[in-house]
């Protein structure tokens, strides 16, 4: 018979439609409205997986987010989820499910043998065992044996949508308390979000036999949601199948919405970040198990879960049920199961049980055994019976009395689902009467209501929810009074030295907690890390309080004294794709393209990322390697003329009557004396004196400067200007405009640059008298607004031409055509690196590090002559700055010219026992085609003295030894004649 455990009626499923799916290769059927878990259970499937460590057979323990066992590998067409949670995945046609952590098959798992060696595998065994010879020896095998599903071979290429929202009131949980809060909030005009992790509203009303305002609870919930959605003039958003996963600062919550029909190419989850004025947490409560030997066998299920499968999906999980309870609510589940046709017997661990409860059970025909507990379970893959004995026994040998049954339902009492509350910073307190941790003190604009607050009766939940939503008038009314709720702190059978399961997913048993207590891991944080209690993907939703209870018993403390660990986001696992959203691949971070990018590609550029900019490194010709291209381009600049796109260099305009005063206070170099139309190469220091940037500063007019920071520092320099102006010198009248990207800048550089420029049509006087080196002028070039600057990064005569960005490509083509007679050659950043190293021109961040001062680079003029209190000045006069063993910039001439010195190689001195000590390191090293030998720059202790002594230095790099002479950090044209050649 198909679906042998499905009842002919009841539940919120559509029996008129049938969906088929497979589990472990076998075909089954279910209905729309089913979860994967309810469909498996309806088909009588008990065994759904193997445990993490001992590979013990496992079945469904729960029916919702707290389920620790039923984690399955899911395949639906091309979509693969290696760790799908069976209780949370809606059943759809064609699902292919397999168990995880079992090989070759679920029933014949070869690693099931681990369970027989359990005594050798206690908590922390791998810390003690797998350390000799070393962990890596065992790692592969252990990782194979442990863990859940196998990762997909291909990555998930789907897009995931992220959205933000704001509201006055966010209600988490659409059970009775949450709905009451949302109704009240909407009624007084607040914008409300109501989110519910399940696909249906109602919470426990979906399976309990309760009435609200005279209607069956589930019908009341459904109608209330419809009413909320239809409210005119009120901004209400109701999201079902939406998990509140995290609660952050400033009342920001992360929600994941499961989408039934995402767009093509888009994933089935949407991530919301909702900022709420006020948050109502109506997250309900989670039922706890009770530990006893073999309590992890398939067929041992939480009592409320059994009742949920019955009420919500019309599945009766067992016909002969033994229900173990330590609280009054277990009786409610027993009655529901009994009414559906199951034979139920109650084992109540409490010696004294309220007479009314026993009477109500007796009226229904349910036997109650007070003062008893379960000593064990019969059956391996499915429960066949239990052994019942005294609840207070401590004798491991006691066998008890056997009873046959096909389901063990367990109610260990309720714990408020206070995870989000705790994430919000709220503090929990132990309530001895209710035997649970309850919210005690909120940290944000938040209130917990209903079962989430320990209000375990329907009437109280409705009242609290209504009040929290700001409700006026009467709250929705529960039609009958609930019985009071009492629970005994009975966590386990008080027999020591026997494995009784606490954390099902991580295989943590009472024995492990006892061991932790014996070995003094008694702090709750140590308990967690030593035993891994609560550290699995279910985050110990069913395990934590039981674990704390047992630790309390072992150490003579109440659970409140043991305390809880910190709850951290997320409450339930969420898809990495949803966390990433569109922020991945090419959309993770911008890549800034040069305005001439298309022209560079046409010229054969090999582009690379330099900071955020994507720029040509060089332009290899057909059949030419990049190294060869660089050599050719360097020689072209030295012998003829080169053309480079320097558009990414910063351009920040500083304007105002105090512009001169401002830039002079900011820069290391003197700038007040700079004449309009002139440029100066300057260093910019951080306040601690270190070199932050270098660049050229131009004075355009008495009240206007143009700063040109290096490409990757422009944003940082802009921020620095703003912070110094607003934070320190707000009285200076000055404005900053970043116009970097408004201009394309092309550099024409080389001994024949002047000849090429002479062909350009411009109204700017290019004669050396009018435009000498380090001067600039505005005008027009080929009919468009332009600026020409004489500034050189190569050491050759250079002209930088700037035109509005959109004209850059045309200017590039024009210059290539004009310069053809002189074999004008495009050159890239990599070629520039060689050119500037030949000249000893530094690159900040490469030839300097986080402690380099200007004097370490030999730039001491301002240090001696500039006396105003510019940024960083005081730091240049500290004892640290005056040390005589500072690392200083030098040049290195390799003794053997075979190959460049390795970048990053250490310069070393040999001490006693031939021990090496690093004196510094090579910062820039290249083969110089100009000189026919390698050139290098380095930062070395007492570098200046080494240069003066022309010292022979040893270099060490990855076992390789080289020797070099300390020389001046300029290898070519030290007098700078070529700048004007």
């Amino acid at each position: 018979m198909s679906q042998p455990r499905r009842l002919p009626s009841g539940g919120f499923i559509d029996r008129s439609k049938t969906l088929s799916f497979t589990f472990e290769g076998r075909r089954y059927e279910g209905h729309p409205g089913d979860s994967v878990a309810s469909a498996l259970l309806a088909n009588g499937v008990r065994l759904v997986g193997r445990s993490f460590k001992y590979h013990r057979p496992r079945g469904l323990l729960a029916a919702g987010v707290e389920e620790p066992n039923a984690i399955l590998d899911l395949q639906l067409g091309a979509h693969h989820d290696p760790n799908a949670r069976a209780t949370m995945v809606p059943l759809v046609e064609g699902l292919e499910l397999t168990a995880v952590n079992a090989s070759p098959s679920l029933r014949r798992d070869k690693r099931a043998i681990f369970d027989r060696f359990a005594r050798y595998l206690p908590a922390g065994f791998y810390y003690k065992t797998f350390i000799r010879p070393k962990w890596e020896t065992f790692e592969g095998t252990i990782r194979q044996a442990a863990g859940l599903g196998r990762n997909s071979a291909t990555s998930d290429r789907r897009f995931y949508e992220q959205q933000g929202a704001r509201c006055d009131l966010l209600v988490v949980g659409a059970g009775p308390a949450g709905i009451a809060a949302a109704l009240a909030g909407a009624a007084n005009g607040q914008s409300v979000w109501l989110v519910e992790q399940e696909a249906l509203p109602g919470g426990q009303l979906l399976w309990r036999d309760e009435q609200v305002d005279g209607q069956p609870g589930h019908a009341w919930a459904k109608a209330a949601i419809e009413r909320l959605r239809a409210l005119p003039n009120v901004n209400v958003t109701v999201k079902l199948a939406t998990q509140a996963a995290a609660y952050y600062d400033h009342n920001t919550l992360a929600l994941t919405e499961r989408l039934a029909a995402p767009a093509v190419g888009w994933g089935p989850e949407r991530l919301w970040l909702v900022r709420a004025g006020r948050v109502v947490l109506a997250t309900g409560a989670l039922e706890r198990p009770i530990a006893f030997p073999d309590n992890d066998r398939p067929g041992v299920m939480l009592a409320a879960a059994a009742a949920t499968y019955l009420g919500r999906w019309g599945v009766l999980p067992g016909k002969h049920i033994v229900l173990l309870t330590n609280n009054d609510d277990g009786y409610a589940s027993a009655l529901l199961l009994h009414r559906a046709g199951a034979q139920v017997g109650i084992v109540d661990v409490r010696p004294q049980v309220d007479g009314a409860l026993i009477k109500a059970a007796a009226v229904a025909g349910i036997d109650v055994l007070p003062g008893r507990a379960l000593l064990g379970v019969e059956g391996e893959f499915s429960v066949t019976g239990v052994r019942i004995g005294a609840a207070d026994t401590s004798d491991a040998k006691e066998k008890g009395q056997g009873f046959a049954c096909d389901l063990v339902a367990v109610s260990g009492g309720w714990s408020p689902a206070a995870h989000l509350f705790s994430q919000s910073g709220g503090k929990l307190a132990w309530d001895a009467e209710l035997a649970c941790f309850r919210p005690a003190r909120s940290a944000q604009e938040e209130v917990s209501v209903g079962a989430a607050n320990g209000a375990f009766t329907l009437a109280a939940a409705l009242v609290e929810g209504h009040a929290a939503g700001g409700g006026e008038g009467p709250a929705p009314v529960a039609s009958q009074a609930d019985p009071t709720y009492r629970a005994a702190p009975y966590w386990r059978l008080p027999v020591r030295g026997v494995r009784q399961w606490i954390d099902f997913q991580h295989d943590v048993t009472t024995k492990d907690v006892e061991l932790a207590a014996r070995e003094s891991y008694v702090s709750v944080e140590h308990l967690k890390r030593y035993t891994t209690l609560g550290m699995a993907t279910d985050q110990g939703k069913t395990a934590n309080v039981v674990g704390l209870g047992v630790m309390g018993e072992e150490t003579g403390r109440t659970p409140g004294e043991v305390g809880t660990t910190t709850f951290r986001p997320p409450y339930t696992p969420l898809t990495l794709g949803a966390i990433a959203g569109l922020n991945r691949d090419s959309r993770l971070q911008t890549r800034r393209y040069l305005p001439l990018h298309t022209a560079h590609l046409a010229a054969g550029a090999a582009c690379r990322d330099y900071g955020l900019w994507y720029r040509p490194g060089c332009y290899p010709l057909a059949g030419e390697s990049e190294a060869e291209a660089i050599q050719r381009e360097v020689l072209a600049v030295r012998r003829n003329v080169g053309l480079m796109d320097g558009s990414s260099l910063g351009k920040i305009e500083v304007t105002g009557p105090d512009a001169a005063e401002f830039v002079n206070r900011l820069y290391y170099n003197e700038l007040k004396t700079l004449k309009p139309g002139r440029l100066r190469y300057c260093l910019l220091l951080a306040e601690k004196g270190t070199v932050f940037d270098d660049g050229v500063v131009a004075r355009m007019a008495p009240d206007r400067y143009l700063l040109s920071p290096s490409s990757s520092h422009t944003d940082g320099v802009m921020a620095m200007l703003e912070e110094w102006h607003e934070g320190e010198w707000p009285d200076l009248k000055v404005y900053f405009h970043n116009v970097t990207q408004a201009w394309a800048t092309l550099a024409v550089s080389g001994p024949r640059a002047r000849e090429v420029m002479a062909k350009l049509s411009t109204d700017i006087d290019l004669s050396d008298a009018a435009l000498p080196h380090m001067a600039l002028a505005d005008g027009r070039v080929e009919g468009v607004a332009a600026r020409i600057a004489r500034v050189s990064f190569t050491g050759e005569r250079s002209y930088e031409i700037s035109v509005p960005t959109s004209h850059g490509a045309a200017l590039w083509d024009h210059l290539l055509a004009l310069g053809r007679f002189a074999s004008i050659t495009p050159y890239g950043i990599e070629s520039l690196m060689t050119l500037r190293t030949e000249k000893g021109y530094i690159l900040i961040g490469r030839d300097t590090d986080g402690v380099t001062l200007p004097q370490d680079l030999g730039v001491t003029g301002p240090l001696r002559n500039k006396t105003i209190d510019y940024v960083g000045r005081r730091s240049l006069f500290t004892p640290e700055a005056r040390r005589d063993d500072r690392k200083q910039l030098i040049g290195l001439a390799a003794e053997d010219a075979a190959s460049p010195l390795p970048n990053g190689a250490h310069l070393v001195e040999r001490g006693p026992h031939n021990r090496l000590r690093s004196l510094g390191f090579v910062t820039s090293s290249f083969a110089s085609p100009t000189l026919g030998r390698p050139v290098a720059l380095a930062l070395v202790e007492r570098g200046r003295a080494l240069v003066e002594a022309h010292a022979r230095l040893e270099l060490y790099h990855l076992g390789q030894r080289r020797f070099a002479r300390a020389v001046e950090p300029c290898f070519y044209d030290p007098k700078g004649v070529r700048l004007n050649a």
């Binding site: 921020a719 707000p730 209190d869 000045r873 730091s875």
Partner: protein, 89 residues
């Protein structure tokens, strides 16, 4: 996930801002080494209300002062430098 009330742009997500340090008077050049070192490197880092500079780099690019409770992350007030306002701006 702080929601920071920029005195000029209104409440914005913290991802739009850069922390710019504690506001401290800049010692004169004549300050001794210890004073200068403290200015550069010492942080008050109070527990509780803490005055700090923030830079709205993803918005108006203005610098402003903020008083934030380092225990609760509550923002007690923000105002432009120089305006030593009492209330919430």
């Amino acid at each position: 996930m702080l929601l920071i009330p920029c005195p000029f742009c209104g409440p914005r997500d913290e991802s739009e801002f850069h922390y710019a340090g504690e506001p401290k008077p800049r010692p004169a050049f004549a300050a001794d080494d210890a004073t200068w070192g403290a200015y550069l490197f010492d942080k008050a880092n109070e527990k509780g209300p803490h005055r700090e500079l923030w830079h709205h780099v993803g918005g108006c690019r203005r610098l402003f002062l903020m008083t934030r409770d380092t225990v609760t992350h509550r923002i007690l007030e923000t105002h432009a430098p120089g305006q030593h306002g009492e209330g919430q701006s």
